[in-house]
């Protein structure tokens, strides 16, 4: 199966999710806040993984914010997504973004309950 069988696409999330992810990025001035990720890409990667593992995809709504492509290489995940993207005729980035959006939704819900984002891996 060659790469021509699906489009790589780009990754991005809604502003709301972006804001959520930003709130999860580590800030040494706010150690008491639950900010477990070193960067927004790391937070995005966690949100994608969470959405993927939970099988929760969600369409982006409103404006979206692009995630830096150099730091998040979509092809690293093609092995687990290609059948799906081929089947759905979707770009790899698009699928990842939907999963990330879904993950953000889960995180948001979790955080809103006062729970830790990292607790979701359990």
């Amino acid at each position: 199966m060659s790469e021509q069988e699906f489009a790589k696409g780009s990754v991005g999330i809604s502003e709301t999710s972006h804001a959520l992810l930003v709130s999860l990025v580590y800030d040494d001035r706010k150690p008491s806040q639950d900010r477990p990720f070193e960067s927004i890409v790391e937070a995005f990667r966690f949100a994608f993984a969470l959405g993927f593992s939970m099988g929760q995809k969600q369409k982006r709504e409103g404006k979206h914010v692009t995630v830096a492509p150099r730091q998040f290489i979509v092809t690293d995940y093609q092995e687990i997504l290609k059948e799906e993207v081929i089947k759905n005729k979707q770009s790899l980035g698009g699928a990842i973004s939907e999963y990330a959006e879904g993950g953000c939704s889960i995180i948001s819900e979790t955080v809103s309950m006062g729970k830790s984002a990292l607790g979701l891996i359990d």
Partner: protein, 640 residues
């Protein structure tokens, strides 16, 4: 009184006293009145055999003064008659040669003290010695002071500088002490003010503790948050792996099966090749023993069947077309990227829990802090906090000031030690103007005394020489040969001849007369008005000189002169007759056996009967009897 087997105690005491005792009483007249000197010797044993067994006592009565005894009595005697002078007033004729020898030779040194005494010099000498001693003491003090002055001069400069340093240090120390006291006073004020808020103090104190705990935990929280962040870097893998692990395991299964198929195909290929070789090479003979075998055909048929089966299986295996090995490897590799370590999830969760617990602790403390903080009004809190901070600042300042003051005190102590050291160096100078003036005065006095002594001795020497020469000229029997006496500065004497030079070998009589002349001159020059006692004066003199001697000494004016002569020197009767007009008293000392006539003063009869058998004489005129064996001395006055 007693000794060498001789009995010197008078016979009465010796014979009659149970405890032998004898006294000599001397009466005299002096400027201070009548003098009565009593010396008593008392035996302390039944029969004393040495002076050690005699007890001596002395009683002296001078004028109206109380009687003095013992050493005090001796002192009283010496107050008008120095002991050193006895040689010049108690002249022993038997020892005249000794005097002569002392005056003629260097042995005069032995006479020097006496000469000085006669001349009244000892007082001056003692005065000079005293002055010299005093001056030496002052001089020593001045010399020491002068040496010390040199040292102390520099030390004084240093001392003045050091005193300035000390003053400066003391000022600094005082200043720091004042500052310390000021801060301590302020601290006391602060503590008093804090007393007004003492009910709030525990809360404030707890708040401070909680705040400190929060601060501490927050620092730790940063570390824990960073640790959580590091651990969470692979949290996405944990999530992805949950889902991709199945896919990965399936591919792994495929890979395992592919590996098994390859192995199986290879085994089949190897078996087919062996079977084909076997069938080709095997004819009618057994392939094992190479001998004809009845079952060989059956054997070959079986091998052919086995070959066919293997070919069939191989064909079937080859017909299976799984993904290529490379593709499988790539897929597995891609999926393995998502595989976390076995304990990754556990570590992430543990770090997260740690952070969460700490964050909760902090939140709890902050909540407590807020609750306590709410109990304080802003004003009270501000006051208490301000007072607390102020107290802390002031306590720190007190500590600082105390340290500064202690250091300053140490500086002061060191400076004081240095000042004291320099003071000791400068303090060695104790000279003053009075010392120098006193030294000058004493120096002048010493010089004056020395000059006086020298002058007096010289004058005395001249007077002695003149007087002795005059006396000598009167007494010696060859005035044309022996013209005078020379007395040198050491009071050594020599008889001068007609040429004015020392006579080489003067006669012994001339020498004796010279000695008597010099002694008389010394006594005369001394000015002491005391009687002269001359014991056996004519012992070494010829008749001429003996006569001249009495002629000179027994003059109608001058000192009282007592001569104790024995019968061989001077005949009593002739002598008394010759000098009758110059004599005050004359006595004879005899024993009873010496008298052939009655010696009773009122009798004096020569009509005496001698009893040789009974050894006694009896005066027929008065009937007086005397024992010729008696040792009792008789002192009889010679009528003049």
């Amino acid at each position: 009184m007693v000794g060498e087997g001789e009995i010197l105690m008078n016979s009465t005491a010796y014979e009659e006293d149970s405890t032998q005792e004898m006294s000599v009483v001397l009466f005299a007249e002096g400027k201070r009145g009548a003098i009565e000197i009593t010396r008593t010797a008392r035996s302390i044993t039944t029969f004393a055999r040495s002076d050690k067994e005699m007890e001596m006592s002395l009683d002296v009565k001078i004028g109206e003064e109380p009687i003095k005894t013992g050493p005090e009595g001796q002192e009283a005697i010496e107050s008008f008659f120095p002991k050193e002078l006895e040689r010049f007033f108690f002249i022993d004729g038997e020892a005249l040669e000794e005097y002569t020898e002392m005056m003629r030779t260097s042995a005069l040194e032995g006479l020097k003290e006496e000469v000085n005494s006669v001349l009244g010099i000892p007082a001056l000498l003692r005065g000079e010695e005293d002055l010299t001693r005093i001056r030496r003491s002052i001089k020593s003090k001045i010399d020491s002071a002068t040496r010390a002055d040199i040292i102390s001069s520099k030390a004084l400069d240093d001392l003045n500088r050091q005193r300035d340093v000390l003053k400066s240090k003391i000022r600094m120390s005082d200043g720091l002490k004042n500052k310390l006291e000021t801060v301590m006073n302020k601290l006391d004020d602060t503590k008093e003010q804090m007393q007004a808020h003492k009910e709030l103090a525990p809360i404030v104190e707890e708040l401070k503790v909680i705040k400190a705990q929060i601060e501490l935990k927050k620092v730790y929280l940063k570390e824990v948050a960073a640790e959580k962040m590091n651990e969470s870097k692979i949290a996405w893998k944990v999530l992805l792996w949950k889902k991709s692990q199945q896919q990965h395991d399936a591919l792994l299964e495929i890979q395992t099966r592919a590996n098994l198929r390859d192995n199986s195909m290879q085994q089949h290929k190897d078996s087919i090749r062996e079977l084909e070789i076997l069938l080709k090479e095997t004819g009618d003979l057994c392939p094992e023993c190479k001998q004809p075998h009845p079952e060989i055909e059956k054997y070959r048929a079986g091998k052919q069947q086995e070959l066919d089966e293997r070919n069939s299986i191989l064909a079937r295996l080859e017909e299976e077309t799984p993904m290529s090995r490379d593709e499988l490897t790539m897929k597995l590799g891609a999926l393995k990227m998502f595989k976390p370590q076995d304990d990754s999830a556990e570590r992430i969760l543990r770090a997260n829990d740690k952070w969460k617990k700490l964050a909760n602790d902090i939140a709890s403390l902050e909540e407590t802090y807020r609750r306590l903080d709410a109990q304080l009004t802003e004003e009270a809190k501000a006051n208490v906090e301000e007072l607390g901070e102020r107290k802390g600042r002031q306590e720190a300042m007190v500590t600082k000031r105390e340290s500064e003051w202690r250091n300053a005190q140490d500086d002061v102590n060191r400076a004081e030690l240095e000042v004291r050291r320099l003071e000791r160096m400068t303090g060695k100078s104790s000279s003053n103007k009075e010392d120098h003036e006193l030294d000058n005065i004493i120096s002048s006095l010493v010089v004056a005394v020395k000059d006086t002594i020298t002058s007096y001795r010289e004058q005395a020497r001249k007077n002695v020489e003149k007087r002795a020469s005059e006396v000598f000229a009167k007494l010696n029997n060859a005035p044309e040969v022996y013209t005078g006496i020379k007395v040198d500065k050491d009071f050594k004497t020599a008889i001068l001849n007609s040429n004015g030079k020392a006579a080489r070998k003067p006669s012994s009589g001339a020498v004796s007369i010279m000695t008597m002349s010099v002694i008389d001159a010394l006594r005369h020059v001394s000015g002491l008005d005391l009687p002269v006692f001359l014991d056996t004066p004519g012992r070494s003199l010829d008749e001429y000189h003996k006569s001249k001697l009495l002629e000179y000494f027994w003059q109608t004016e001058g000192q009282q002169f007592l001569i104790f002569a024995h019968s061989g020197e001077y005949a009593v009767k002739e002598t008394v007759n010759q000098f009758e007009g110059r004599l005050a008293r004359a006595y004879t000392i005899t024993l009873p056996r010496d008298h052939r006539s009655c010696y009773q003063p009122k009798c004096l009869s020569e009509d005496v009967e001698h009893d040789s058998y009974n050894k006694k004489n009896t005066c027929n005129a008065c009937g007086f009897e005397w024992d010729l064996t008696s040792q009792k001395t008789l002192v009889l006055e010679v009528p003049l």
